[in-house]
Symmetry: C2
Subunit: 526 residues, 2 copies
Amino acid sequence: MQITGDMLIGGAAVRGKAATLRAFDPVRNTDIEPAFGAGDAGDVDRACQLAQQTFDVFRQAPLEQRARLLEAIGEQIAALGDALIERAHIESALPKARLEGERARTIGQLKLFAALVRDGRWLTATLDSAQPERKPLPRPDLRLQKIPVGPVAVFGASNFPLAFSVAGGDTASAFAAGCPVVVKAHPAHLGTSELVGRAIAQAVAECGLPAGIFSLVIGAGNAVGEALVAHPAIKAVGFTGSRGGGIALMNIAARRREPIPVYAEMSSINPNFVLPGALAARGEAIAAGFVDSITLGVGQFCTNPGLLVALEGPHLKAFVDAAAKALEKKGAQTMLSAGIASAYRDGISRRLAVEGVQRIGEGAAGGTPNAALPALFATTQSQFLAQPPLEDEIFGPTSLIVTCKDIDEMVRLAEHVEGQLTATLHLEQEDHALAQRLLPTLERKAGRILANGFATGVEVAHAMVHGGPFPATSDSRSTSVGTLAIERFLRPVCYQDLPAALLPQAVHDENPLGLWRLRDGAFERR
Amino acid sequence: MQITGDMLIGGAAVRGKAATLRAFDPVRNTDIEPAFGAGDAGDVDRACQLAQQTFDVFRQAPLEQRARLLEAIGEQIAALGDALIERAHIESALPKARLEGERARTIGQLKLFAALVRDGRWLTATLDSAQPERKPLPRPDLRLQKIPVGPVAVFGASNFPLAFSVAGGDTASAFAAGCPVVVKAHPAHLGTSELVGRAIAQAVAECGLPAGIFSLVIGAGNAVGEALVAHPAIKAVGFTGSRGGGIALMNIAARRREPIPVYAEMSSINPNFVLPGALAARGEAIAAGFVDSITLGVGQFCTNPGLLVALEGPHLKAFVDAAAKALEKKGAQTMLSAGIASAYRDGISRRLAVEGVQRIGEGAAGGTPNAALPALFATTQSQFLAQPPLEDEIFGPTSLIVTCKDIDEMVRLAEHVEGQLTATLHLEQEDHALAQRLLPTLERKAGRILANGFATGVEVAHAMVHGGPFPATSDSRSTSVGTLAIERFLRPVCYQDLPAALLPQAVHDENPLGLWRLRDGAFERR
């Protein structure tokens, strides 16, 4: 499939006329052909109008057709073959093997949502029978199902050009819910975006669904994204990216005549608490795993462990030495984009300038102009609490070790940190009492709590939560990974005394869809 | 039980020192004793701190204890006896029989949430087994449950001094979720609020729960409510009231350092579509029901039918005549407060001044200084579309009949209106095709769709939705009535590879709580 540099608006290739953009190869530090035409608010309006016009048809199509769409998108992505991996590789500097894994994850995610659509639990079908004889007033017949909220705007992440981008979790869950999707292409992987966008458009056509349910727009600067979030047809937003970007979209959404929900996955430093028993028993092994985790994918994961907390003492000294030694072997590697590499260097400089912070380890220099030199810092708990900038996420292969004088300092630190995607405990049996003290706090602070592992690696599963209190995300009630993600794009509707002929299938007496339903308070599938 | 005029902060009576307030008797147009002491931001801070400090204990208490709390609140409210009804009657001018019904509804609602707590489906317990042999990477053990979001601020409604106030649906669902609650007393029923607040405090003590999980604060003006929504300990807001009030709280919540969700139920004109077959077959009966519905409770219901849409012609003429005649028999009745009565009169004056609007019927004048004279207006579809103020809710016993030239005008009007709590179809078998045309639009516009009835009367049930797209509410994904209301105050947490000894009971292998759970994708209770 050819990359043309066009937008895809309701299945049609549309040349953006507002500006010319090119993708960038961060390894060679050069632009990549071809040129892309960036669109304007008029293009956004056209895409959103088409999404609005096709919404009712899409949401009322049989669930089987919706499930097939998700599978067909996966098939079309697979059919792109090596061309997709090649393009994503030069646009992101991510290794091909990693991108192949990410493609498999993306296709697997689409299949999981297809199975979820067929299962139909998310419809929340609920029936409360009429009680015509009830006193003082008869009770009406009430039935409930969830329906999609409407067209969804999706902003992909730079760090997952496949799994969190054009056909990533936001798009998959929005389609699964029955929402048309308008994606704003990420400027760091425009070619990858177009290829995947074409795969989606082809799948939409193949499934006999209206072309307007999917568009991919390109923008230079922020105007196109802002117009998208502000458009009256858009009813929810999925975003993965920086805190500043997420907050900007939240503000636009809140200022609309009709405010809409924004699901922004933004920033997290994912604290790791190494409890004393674990530190004594296997500090060096934890240090090796920690350094692997902070440098994995050049540290470009939302779940990167940017903070590690432990008690001072000889075991911590050994831990720090082991971590520093392991880090020396990690070379500087190219980041996703020149902008991200530059932001990383700035972040490291700022951290070095903070009083009471020591650099305790560094990777091996070298690499390309956009490479990131891994770096490890240390400070004390009191310093960490006194210096709010130490809580800022530095996106890249770095972390901060915070030493606590005692358990109480560790508990206070846990209580002090902002909302997180994840929190991790490294513990042995003897640490359970301390873990019990920390857990209530960690539950309030994070969406996912791990033991004896690292949070880099987010399983796509029913029980996954990739979300958390602000600023980890804009909405702690939701997850952007796993099947619960569909709930972001649904709303309940109640039908009171509607004639059977007019009721949606999900709440027919005969249960033609074979759903699990709550009927007069009892959960059943019959 | 004595009304003292104190606030209740974590179980203690606290005299507010910022100002003195009195409740008002709208029938006699006079203040009611005793004086209430309004608090300040310091009192709010104390209440919120207590809520925060007791949150972990409350949420980790056994579900049975939480269920008992809800039942005990109902028992304590019942034990207040006639004193509660008397006080609510003089504060609201609502008839005693209506208040007795509302008390029964409030107690029934608490019982329903107690049953929901015991059922535990809302925990969303989910288990995905580890797959240690999976390639290329093993899959971790993942378990998920929902936990409460944190302390909740509740702002009750003037029009339901019991069912949507201190111990109403917001408080019941927040407690059911495990959230401490800080209520801002509604100034129109301060005495009722104190009585119910004392009942809650007594129930909290009786159940052995920490007193800090409930506070009732009093404010003069908006400062106390604003401080409450802005307080860092507060994690969600429940509000029922005006559009202006709801939007003000939404803005405060969005501007916080940590934005929080606001569930504001605000304004709705609840369109009724009388389809041609129904108009021909039983226009007069519908007219009588319509007039009963708009004047019920002096029209002071969120679900009052403020808009009725029908096709012009002889049947509509007969309908309008019947409605006007029925309205003549409805007397002016006292509204909830002097402010509401004055806003009603202003709304009626503004409506009369709109070009192309005719007053087609009026109730019987008389009554008290704060009585509302029922009024019925008519206009054309084109006029309605051209004059946005005609979509504004007038809170009180009034409605607007909009005549359409043809079916297309009716469909366009349905597409034109803002988000609603409810939409109603009056139809016969022969109207089904037209209903099918309207239904997709009504699903997008409203949270509840009724046939051949009136929306005044909101059943507390599993399948109820009392919510809808903005401006009906601030969050169309939620309902403030019915068991789904609990979802507003929950967020998911995932536990990855946590040792069994540290896992919450809901996701233990042995299912000690006997919950319905999703285990490796299969729904089961064993």
